[in-house]
């Protein structure tokens, strides 16, 4: 188990996955800092009209941190996908997998080890970027989210689910096709999330329903939305209402129901991946 986890990490190191992700992250965080710097400088000069009770600093802070969380999720997903996209089919096509699979470790443990390794790296990474973004918003704008830890954990869970989906995909699809498929799912989830916001703004039942279905089918999206909702959990009034309308407005499906479902979903995907892998000819 440990051997395979190490094997996976060495592979990632070699393929320069970490190098690319690290450089991209540094670029992102740098850019994020610059943007925050200017946004909060300008916000200081904006005075909303007397009759609109908007706290512009809270609004800007929540909006910017929402953007940061989106970027965290996106970068986390990129890392997860590139760590796992070719673990089965890709490696089997290249002849890397066969010598490992015939060893006593067995297929399920092999897949499990690759999952644990990738999930651990992604979790550490997501938390680092999440808290990095939080420090940047807090440092430049003196705004801190209403909940500090839970949204981060929800983002981690979202990325872990994507990791599992990508591993499942790698059992049935070639590496390239799998990469495309997972990113498409991810994109579909984001669109569904935006659709949800729009649906609630327009109060359209049909749009709301389809967004809700999408959230249950792709719970990583629901977790991300729930995380967004949490950062302004105690922000009320017009500020909260306006934030809800925006792209980082947060979930309409939330709470323990979706969290438990996400956990069950993860187990189902992992179980499915192991089952399909066990029966696959290599």
């Amino acid at each position: 188990m440990i051997t395979i986890i190490r094997y996976g990490m060495q592979e990632a190191l070699r393929r320069k996955v970490f190098l690319v992700v690290l450089s991209l992250t540094i670029v992102f965080l740098g850019l994020f800092w610059v943007i925050n710097h200017f946004v909060f400088r300008d916000v200081a000069h904006i005075t909303p009209p007397e009759d609109v009770h908007v706290d512009s600093r809270t609004f800007a802070g929540a909006f910017m941190f929402g953007l940061g969380m989106f970027a965290t999720l996106f970068l986390g997903v990129v890392l997860a996908v590139f760590l796992t996209l070719g673990v089965v089919s890709g490696d089997a096509e290249r002849g890397l997998l066969q010598p490992l699979v015939v060893r006593p470790i067995g297929r399920a443990a092999l897949l499990g080890a690759r999952f644990l390794g990738a999930a651990a790296v992604c979790a550490a990474y997501v938390l680092a970027v999440y808290f990095g973004a939080m420090l940047i918003v807090g440092g430049t704008g003196h705004w801190w989210p209403d909940r500090i830890v839970t949204p981060g954990i929800e983002l981690v869970a979202a990325v872990v689910i994507v990791t599992a989906l990508s591993l499942l995909g790698s059992v049935v699809l070639s590496a390239t096709a799998n990469g495309i498929a997972v990113f498409m799912l991810f994109g579909a989830g984001l669109v569904a999330g935006l659709l949800g916001s729009i649906g609630h703004a327009l109060d359209s039942h049909a749009v709301k329903t389809s967004a809700a279905v999408a959230a249950w089918v792709l719970p990583f999206e629901a977790l991300y939305q729930d995380a967004l909702r949490q950062i302004t959990a105690s922000t009320s009034g017009v500020t909260g209402f306006l934030l809800q309308l925006g792209p980082f407005g947060g979930a309409y499906i939330h709470g323990w129901g979706i969290r438990l479902w996400a956990a069950a979903y993860l187990a189902l995907v992992a179980f499915g991946a192991a089952l399909v892998f066990a029966r696959r000819d290599l």
Partner: protein, 280 residues
């Protein structure tokens, strides 16, 4: 004592393609069996089923008495795939270390050193796989298959990339392994090699065994050649047991006999006869 490898009624279909059409084969302990056949005959498919990479459509395969692919079976085997690759950034030593861990071998550095020496890679211990020639990688693959002292060795064209010296090294290695009681199934297109080293041979054609036996059994007599003062004479259809009589007849007829040779077909001739011109 169960056979090291036993397959019976083995069928494998890939969609409409029937790769194996009911194959029976046995490899006993300490026996070296060669599997021959044209491209696409099903040799690799058979080996992949034996090591649990591929699931049979019908029939049974057992390794060391355990169902192929089961934990007990995987513990007993060493396998070299036809197409394989090791991570390019691993050194020869690290590849073996990885497989020692996966195979649960406690042979340590001593085992790794010995295996690299066996395949004449002692000097390449710290060389990265990506910096190795194809033949070196194949020899490393053979060393990898031997990690943990497997009881059953399945080698799918282990010498396809080797030079003549490398082939000889592998041949001697296989003979040594047989001496230690290891069972070996060897896929190969190199008939002379198989003839030299294998105890038994099976020829596959279109997923079926068309001939099986020891090389000597397969190589049927083709006649006796006698050289006399009247020239070279070939008596077709005659065998070894006919030779004394044939010589006596010539002598009685006043001929000077200079030489007698019993002609047997080579494995190559048997192979070509069984397989015809088939290749796919």
């Amino acid at each position: 004592m169960p056979a090291a490898l036993a397959v019976s009624g083995l069928v494998k279909r890939y969609g409409a393609v029937e790769a194996l059409g009911g194959v029976d084969l046995e490899v006993r302990e300490g026996e070296l069996v060669g599997l021959l056949g044209p491209n696409g005959a099903g040799k690799s498919t058979l080996v992949k089923i034996a090591v649990g990479l591929v699931r049979p459509t019908a029939g049974q395969a057992a390794l060391a008495g355990a169902v192929a692919g089961s934990l007990a079976a995987r513990r007993a085997l060493g396998y070299l795939a036809e197409l394989f690759r090791f991570p390019g950034w691993y050194t020869a030593d690290e590849v073996l270390l990885l497989h020692q861990r996966l195979a649960g071998s406690d042979g340590g550095a001593e085992e790794r050193r010995r295996l690299l020496e066996l395949v004449a890679l002692a000097d390449a211990r710290d060389r990265r796989v990506e910096a190795m020639s194809k033949g070196m990688q194949q020899r490393l693959g053979i060393a990898q298959a031997l990690v943990g002292e497997p009881r059953v060795l399945l080698l799918d064209e282990p010498t396809s990339a080797l030079d003549p010296v490398g082939r000889r090294t592998v041949r001697l290695l296989l003979e040594e392994l047989r001496g230690r009681g290891v069972a070996v199934l060897l896929n190969s297109h190199l008939l002379s090699e198989v003839e030299l080293v294998c105890d038994r041979v099976a020829i596959l054609l279109d997923g079926k065994v068309v001939a099986a036996g020891t090389p000597a059994e397969l190589a049927r007599p083709r006649g006796v050649e006698i050289e006399t003062d009247a020239g070279l004479e070939t008596i077709a259809g005659a065998g070894r047991e006919d030779a004394p009589r044939l010589v006596a007849e010539r002598v009685a007829a006043g001929r000077q006999v200079y030489g007698v040779r019993v002609l047997t077909s080579t494995l190559e001739e048997v192979y070509l006869e069984k397989v015809g011109g088939a290749t796919s």
